[in-house]
């Protein structure tokens, strides 16, 4: 794995039937590359939470994943409403998810906290009315 591999995914908004496909694909590729199981798990969990957030809150978006021998960088970019209060959104249990989303088993307010917990570095750039970019880094 001397070179960097870049993967891109388009995430459909409000389509819960396809949510998780991008994360599953990255997980499969990492396993094929022989990444350590704990790395695969961290990537799968943090990316899936990001993917779900895009579906729930941002009408979809784009995910770019860079895989090198040192790290996996996941860039989740959406043109959604932005995050009003990032600090509040980072609190476990805080959620703005609507009832129909909660009925599916989401909206526990664990999305961003899980992304932080399972990545080695996380950066949130958000502009209200324009969108959000979350960058996750997981070391190999």
């Amino acid at each position: 794995m001397s070179n960097t591999i870049t993967l891109t995914y388009t995430i459909s908004g409000d389509d819960f039937t396809r949510a998780g496909e991008a994360s599953s694909d990255v997980k499969k590729k990492l396993k094929q590359m022989g990444a350590k199981p704990e790395v695969v798990r961290k990537v799968a969990i943090s990316m899936y939470e990001g993917e779900i957030n895009m579906v729930i809150h941002a009408h979809g978006g784009e995910i770019t994943v860079h895989i090198s021998s040192q790290e996996v960088i996941i860039i989740l970019n959406d043109e959604g409403p932005g995050i009003v209060d990032v600090e509040l959104a980072m609190q476990a249990g805080y959620s703005t998810a609507p009832d129909n989303v909660r009925a599916l088993g989401f909206g526990a307010g664990m999305g961003l906290p899980n992304m932080k917990k399972y990545s080695d570095d996380m950066k949130i750039d958000t502009i209200l009315g324009e969108g959000t970019t979350v960058t996750l880094k997981i070391f190999m």
Partner: protein, 115 residues
């Protein structure tokens, strides 16, 4: 205990047998909130839940749960059943409560250890 052996011994209905039947079933796990399940499920779990939708299957796959056990008579919706078949995910079902189903899983796993 392998998943194949687990399926043979349990009294749950097999909705979809799935693959990786030589995977080890290690522990029962109970949770219905997917984000919490996502971060907590140990690999190789028999995940007992009442959430029978397609997102449950995505979480089960990503966390490498051994199988999903739908409790309380819950069934998979059509989209989820189709996904379970195409992804070969093991789905079992029971009318038992979540606790009773998880306890049965525990007993089956530990009975095999005692033998």
């Amino acid at each position: 205990m392998t998943k194949q052996e687990f399926i043979r011994r349990c009294n749950f209905t097999v909705i979809n047998e799935g693959n990786n039947l030589n995977t080890e079933v290690k522990t029962p796990f109970c949770c219905d909130l997917l984000s919490i399940a996502m971060s907590k499920i140990p690999a190789g779990s028999a995940w007992v839940t009442v959430m029978g939708n397609i997102n449950t299957l995505a979480v089960a796959t990503l966390t490498e749960a051994a199988c999903v056990i739908l409790a309380e008579g819950i069934t998979l919706d059509a989209a989820a059943l189709s996904k379970a078949k195409s992804e070969a995910i093991t789905i079992l079902a029971t009318d038992l409560s979540i606790f009773e189903a998880a306890y049965e899983v525990y007993q089956i796993i530990h009975a095999s250890v005692d033998l």
